[in-house]
Symmetry: C2
Subunit: 479 residues, 2 copies
């Protein structure tokens, strides 16, 4: 009964109010629930299953590139957090502090990790002695806490789940190569697993990570033209190594500082999936992370043999796919709406006449297209269709990204685009932080996303100040 | 170079000092490192890989029994923790409190979860409305914090990793069945995956979980005769449901309280593995969770064809097993000691003469036994030998458990055993908490482990007070 209360019509349309549409979707599809701790969310089974599929895929990619998982404490003593000056300045304002434990006031307060560079460095200082100990390629899956004022499920929350890679290398070149290698892992994961195209490149000085020498980013664009910082990879040089006195004896027997990277992606990716692919009927999940890849809906289930055949079909598909057979007594129409809202990529309808003819009906979530196909070789047909859905989702998102990407040749044009359109703006920039700040102020929030890897020469001068341009920058509003 | 510093001889022998042996093993085999947060540990790659194998196996068992994973916030507001009286009394003394966040003092302090009953109940109150919403079978993998005074890696630490299942059922019978089903999952996992036999049964009132109606436990015995509480499963009745006002409309349309369970195991299981199977040479890992199931050590590696053949053998085994080929320039003797210390179940030696003859030498970690076997069908031979090692580890531990299990018919006998022997003591008990307390005081720490499922009638009277006996109880010291 309670399940039947859910009505697809309750979802606000994207064009009416995108923010409200998002909140409706995450609540009504039971991805999350709110908790009594402000800004902390409950990730419900359907949401967590997406995260598990993301984790499994990414973890395999990390291991294939030589990384090992570890687990660091969730607390950082205040004195440890303060060891690297830029880092503590960046994070101290947004941490949560533990001051009491076991009924007593602590001698030193502990912050709940907002990120774990300091903990990794403390450990690396103990275990790195020789060039033979390098590289160290560690990753950690955990939750972190950043005390945000305004929070939204998946996009920005006081606590979130993520992975953080932390690596140490003999040379700067190796560390730089690692930084870019992991960014490429993210870019490929977004494309091949989430069906999401990204703009990628280097963050400006103003936007880089607290304590990093260089930060690289992948920036998917949401359906409404707003950017989501989708994943970052940082090159630290030897700054932390010096602050934490991590040294190794090199091949030439001199003591040297190793070179460091870190890189991370989080449950925010689930927000990216929702806002890239979702539509007015609810979620549209990319097949490679969908908790249910295909749902089987029996038609006229009371008729002899229908349920048995549906079970047989389900069993034959379960080896290769994540399949759900819905044999509840809800009507087929109700089921169609329910799984449409939940974004299940493929629906398989099976009725008495289909069974007679040895066929079933496949309905794609992305296009609504119906196809009658033979039950023979169904697994191969399903595999092919799921791949098609993946490609079509990617292409649709890529088209949106292209359609919403503009080029500004002068500042009037820039301001006009920023005011009238929602999307990315390509423009030239002199390298001066003041011009970034001016853009942000004049537009009420447009910021540099990145200096893209494939820079174009739009003009010779900075779009803001007219001084000689140093870089092509992609600008945009962000979540 | 730094790796070569590790010497097997540095491990204290078990008979000399078991506690010291344990600490030596966890440090020297690089399972953990200490951190600057008292009582919190760094789980290093070799230790974390064991945990990943444990997780993968258990998670599949949970899903096969119908459970879904979720993620709850890591913080519990003080008012929420206080909703169930017994529960807060049990946990409040050992929690860590967050009092400040984002630069401000919080209106209400938050504890870092020591366990998540209260959070699950808050959520269940919102999502359970009808008998159709039941059962809810949720599990969570996360870290929890209990501010312990005395800590030891894996056995007792301020922060540890675990899973906590929390389920809600329509009837008491269903919830009781779930409680026992999950205990059986743990017992079977200990036996079939960790090769560890357990004593199992119900905790006495004194030893049950804060807020539970009944607690069940699996209690493996460590090599030295000391118990480790290896996993618990709790039946809550409807106590939390009443405290949190979780109600559903039943089949008869009346409002009812659901019946609840919770169950958990933690990284403490890695401590159980170490202390059950380890020996004076270091770790002995059960094959089904060993990060490396077999290590290939090439002999006379400089000779033509040896390394190539070793790589070929490694490649042929990697599909079915977790294999490491050690082709470093350390000596074979050094490698033998290293992987022996690290507890790798099987060593595969491959030299020029072996290759000529189409054979290799298999050396078992548990017995040291060497066998020359054909390279043809090697994967099947390895599979069979790993199964043999598993069985032999289990049987060795079972024999230790039997050898160290005693029966006390009267209190003098009980005290004599408690003084002279280390192990489990079977005895009769009247059901009075005072007698448990007396035993603990008189023996300096022997406590009831459980009322075993297969109770025996050792005598008619309580071993302490001589009043009529109610139960057979297994007693023992614990970690």
């Amino acid at each position: 009964m309670s399940e039947q209360k859910k009505m697809v019509e309750e979802i606000t349309s994207r064009d009416t109010d995108f923010a409200r549409w998002y909140t409706d979707v995450v609540k009504k599809t039971e991805l999350v629930d709110y908790s009594s701790v402000k800004g902390c969310m409950v990730i419900r089974p359907y949401g967590y299953a997406i995260w598990e599929n993301i984790q499994k895929d990414l973890d395999a990619r990390f291991k294939a590139t030589g990384h090992e998982n570890v687990y660091m404490p969730m607390f950082i003593p205040e004195s440890l957090l303060q060891k690297e000056k830029d880092h503590v300045e960046g994070f101290a304002p947004e941490v949560a502090w533990v001051t009491h434990g076991g009924g007593e006031k602590l001698a030193e307060r502990l912050c709940v990790r907002p990120t774990s560079e300091t903990l990794f460095c403390e450990h690396y200082a103990k275990i790195i002695n020789s060039y033979r100990d390098l590289p160290k390629l560690y990753n950690q899956w955990c939750s972190v806490v950043r005390w945000e004022k305004t929070t939204r499920p998946f996009l920005r929350s006081a606590e979130f789940l993520w992975q953080e890679g932390h690596t140490m290398h003999e040379t700067a070149e190796e560390a730089k190569a690692e930084t870019l290698r992991m960014l490429e892992v993210y870019r490929d994961f977004y494309k091949e697993t989430l069906a999401i195209p990204v703009v990628w490149g280097q963050k400006t000085e103003k936007e880089k990570f607290a304590g990093a020498e260089a930060t690289y980013t992948v920036e998917p664009m949401m359906h409404n033209g707003v950017a989501l910082q989708g994943g970052t990879s940082h090159y630290f040089g030897d700054g932390f190594a010096r602050a934490f006195n991590i040294r190794f004896s090199g091949r030439d027997n001199t003591l040297q500082y190793p070179h460091q990277t870190s890189w991370g992606v989080s449950t925010r990716m689930i927000g990216a999936i929702i806002m890239t692919h979702g539509d007015d009927s609810g979620l549209v999940l990319p097949p490679r992370v969908a908790p249910i890849q295909a749902v089987i809906v029996p038609i006229a289930m009371h008729k002899g043999g229908v349920l048995e055949k549906a079970e047989e079909v389900a069993a034959s598909l379960k080896e290769r796919f994540r399949i759900k057979l819905d044999a509840t007594d809800n009507s087929p129409g109700w089921k169609f709406s329910e799984y449409e809202m939940k974004g299940v990529p493929l629906r398989i309808e099976l009725g008495p006449r289909d069974i007679e003819q040895g066929v079933c009906v496949l309905v794609r979530r992305d296009t609504g297209e119906k196809t009658t196909v033979s039950l023979e070789g169904l697994a191969d047909t399903v595999a092919e269709m799921l791949d098609n859905i993946h490609d079509s989702l990617y292409n649709r998102a890529l088209e949106n990204l292209k359609n919403r990407t503009y080029t500004a040749h002068d500042y009037d044009e820039f301001l006009a685009i920023a005011k009238e359109k929602s999307g990315y703006i390509n423009a030239m920039w002199c390298g001066d932080e003041a011009c970034e700040t001016k853009i942000k102020e004049d537009t009420g929030g447009v910021k540099s996303r990145c200096i893209p890897f494939d820079e174009e020469q739009i003009s010779d001068v900075c779009v803001v100040c007219g001084k000689p341009a140093k870089h092509h920058v992609v600008f945009g509003r962000q979540y």
